[in-house]
Amino acid sequence: MDAVSQLQRQFVEHATSLYREGYLDDQFTQLQKLQDESNPDFVVEVVTLFFEDSEKLLNNLATALQQESIDYKQVDAHVHQFKGSSSSIGAQRVKNVCVVFRNYCDEKNLDGCLVCLQQAKNEYLLVRNKLEALLNLEQQILQAGGSVPMIT
């Protein structure tokens, strides 16, 4: 159907740009591979968990960095978690910020940490919007009876 192919094309374009611009990496493709009949909503489920998890972590980070006396170990623990979850779903840019963030934690560099926190937040919001758009397209395709194209 025309509508379906159009949606599919949009989907491909969107997904490709995400990979190209580094918002997503190969790990996201891996996620899609895990989705099948026995696990039909896998990608949506994982991504949703990622969103929830990330927002919690970002809040915790903000709180931890606002303390009088900052516990960098705790901050690092949060960042470590964030890095883990972002790398699990393939949110590459977020993960990269986390790496830098951890270095600042090791150095107990507050300014560096604060900058990283802001960057992490920004990157997270960006990738969240894009993923939501992508999943939306996917949903529409499926509803229209089409199949979701695989991005390699």
Binding site: D36, N39, L49, A77, H80, G84, S88, I89
Partner: protein, 605 residues
């Protein structure tokens, strides 16, 4: 899936790994979900939890409920390595570690704690597809080991085989035990093989009961291992106690000698709290010089073992200073390290604690853990106990070679030994079985293990002489033989005392160490340290308790002797040896090592 199912027939085997039951633990919900997806894709049966405590409870409820555990390293409620240890100790299931951090040190830590694999996040599907191999490998190893044992052992192994067979049918852990017994043990051991797993259970039971209340019957009940008798447990318990005693003695010795950190570490060890009682058990005062009670134990044990023990204990003491005092300065130094390492190996838990704290070379510690496992494997020595002295020296002739090799390697090898020592142990084991047919690779291994290395030549020498003379004396469990041989070499070295022979001596110590390692492991468990207990799992180390015990004794003994003059030790030992078979408590039955009437002292210079 049980072993039977797997072995049951081609069908079952073909179907596996489909349906393999995996328990996944990760506090990060996103990662856990991903893991869940990956595992489901492979058609495994997945159970997830984000808390290590919950995971443990599930496992404890029914250890047959799962085939494999995958766990993250960094978790808020419990360190992944700790979980790893506990699972290995209590359930003997394969555990795969997972972490975002792929640092070599961490991976090494995973290995030493007994992880059968270490994956770095994000994990790929291909990697997960392969994890079933860890489960099947254990079962296959167990099975083939049983078969091998059956064919090799014949009558002697009958008992063992039966036990092994029984184990095979029964829980995995029993099979694991079978697995852990290396060939050497399998071959000629009619007695119980105290594999690392079995020992862990033992220690867990003791911990649960409390050291004072830990009586064989109750321990046996708690352990719930088919085919294990109260006598087995009683015997093992005695050795364990001696080991604990030795450890505490060592700690004291360290202090006495002013070992560097060791002393402190030892003191730390001492907290095998509650073990103080055991101290009395050790044959303090047996040895003439024995500052260490354990010395007495040594006397009982094969001299070789004893030596080993000494060396073991010595390590801490041995601190670099020792070299000058005791043995060959050159080698000694290295030995010291070795000993230290060895030591680490010994009581996995305890030593680790010590080691880690004291030793600057963390890597050594790792080695130790490894060693331990290996030591267990090579436990043939353990057989000593049960045995018959005659066995001991069987392989002696071959040993000589290793020793020379060792000697050359002495200095160098020691440190790196951790792994080497392990090998030695295994080799030793091999020796035992084959009566010394082991390849010369043995020596190098021995060195590391042989904490004994550092021990003053005297110690070794003394023992060596004893042992060697015995040629006639059957070294129990082949291992003994090795020791004997080494001892012989050692003796020679002893004569030299400082210098060359050191390596040899180490060797003997090494063999002893093997025991110690076992003992250590055992103790470690006891001490509750998260030591290398886990190591037992992956290694098919058939660490026999016997060995450990010996080591324990030896260690204790060695330490005391280490510094003393060989002559003093030997006569003392000799007397002891000759008098009783088991000064220690008759548990070890090593007495035979020393040839009665033989004047050991004359060998040393």
């Amino acid at each position: 899936m049980t072993v039977e199912e797997i072995r049951g027939g081609d069908n079952e085997i073909d179907r596996f790994p489909i349906g393999m039951r995996v328990l996944a633990v990760d506090d990060n919900p996103t990662c856990l979900k991903l893991l869940d997806g990956l595992l489901r894709k492979c058609q495994y049966q997945v159970t997830t939890t984000n808390q290590a405590i919950k995971a443990l409870n599930m496992l404890r409820e029914n250890r047959n409920r799962f085939d494999l555990v995958i766990s993250d390293v960094y978790m808020p409620d419990m360190d992944g390595f700790k979980l790893l240890e506990l699972v290995g100790l209590e359930m003997d299931l394969p555990v795969i570690m997972l972490s975002g951090n792929g640092d070599r040190n961490l991976v090494m830590k995973g290995i030493t704690h007994g992880a059968c694999d270490y994956l770095v996040k994000p994990v790929r599907l291909e990697e997960i597809r392969n994890i079933w191999q860890h489960v099947i490998r254990r079962k296959v190893e167990s099975k083939s080991k049983n078969n091998r044992e059956k064919s090799d052992q014949g009558i002697e192994g009958g008992d063992q085989n039966e036990k092994l067979n029984r184990k095979r049918k029964d829980e995995d852990e029993e099979e694991e035990n079978g697995n852990e017994s290396d060939d050497p043990t399998a071959k000629k051991k009619p007695r119980v093989v105290w594999s690392i797993d079995l020992h862990r259970k033992f220690v867990a039971a003791i911990n649960q009961l409390g050291i004072e209340k830990a009586v064989p019957k109750r321990i046996l009940d708690l352990m719930n291992v088919d085919g294990l008798t109260r006598e087995n447990v009683a015997s093992h318990l005695q050795k364990y106690r001696l080991y604990l005693k030795r450890i505490s003695h060592q700690a004291n010795m360290v202090v006495a000698f002013g070992g560097n950190n060791d002393a402190s570490s030892y003191m730390r060890m001492s907290p095998l709290d509650g073990l103080a009682d055991f101290r009395t058990l050790s044959c303090s005062g047996r040895l003439p010089n024995a500052t260490y009670a354990p010395a007495g134990m040594l006397g009982r044990l094969n001299s070789a073992t004893g030596v080993a023990l000494h060396s073991l204990t010595a390590p801490p003491l041995v601190q670099p200073n020792h070299t000058q005092t005791k043995l060959q300065p050159g080698p000694v130094v290295s030995s010291n390290h070795q000993n230290m390492n060895l030591f680490q190996g010994i009581p996995p838990f305890e030593l680790d604690q010590l080691q880690y704290s004291n030793k600057p070379n963390t890597h050594l510690t790792d080695y130790n853990s490894i060693e331990e496992s290996q030591i267990f494997t090579g436990t043939n020595l353990a057989d000593f106990n049960s045995i018959n002295e005659p066995r001991m020296f069987r392989g002696s002739s071959t040993f000589t070679d290793p020793i020379s090799v060792l000697a050359s390697q002495a200095g160098v090898k020691l440190t790196s030994t951790g792994t080497e020592s392990l090998n030695l142990l295994s080799t030793t084991s091999g020796f035992l079985d084959q009566n010394g047919n082991q390849p010369p690779s043995f020596p190098s291994n021995l060195l590391p293990v042989g904490e004994s290395y550092s021990y003053p030549a005297a110690v070794n020498g003394g023992f060596s002489s004893n042992i060697t003379t015995t040629a006639a004396v059957p070294v129990e469990a082949h291992g003994g033989g090795l020791v004997g041989h080494i001892v012989q070499n050692v003796n020679q070295s002893l004569s030299n005392q400082k210098g060359g022979p050191c390596s040899k001596q180490d060797y003997s110590q090494y063999s002893q160490n093997a025991f110690t390692t076992l003992a250590s492991s055992a103790l470690a468990d006891y001490g509750g340290s998260s030591g290398p207990v886990s190591h037992s799992r992956p290694n098919g180390v058939g660490s026999t308790l016997v060995q450990t015990e010996h080591t324990k004794l030896q260690s204790g003994f060695v330490s005391s002797n280490g510094y003393g003059s060989l002559d003093d030790i030997i006569p003392g030992m000799l007397k002891r040896e000759q008098n009783t078979t088991m000064q220690m408590n008759g548990e070890f039955g090593y007495d035979a090592y020393m040839v009665p009437g033989r004047v050991y002292g004359d060998e040393s210079k």
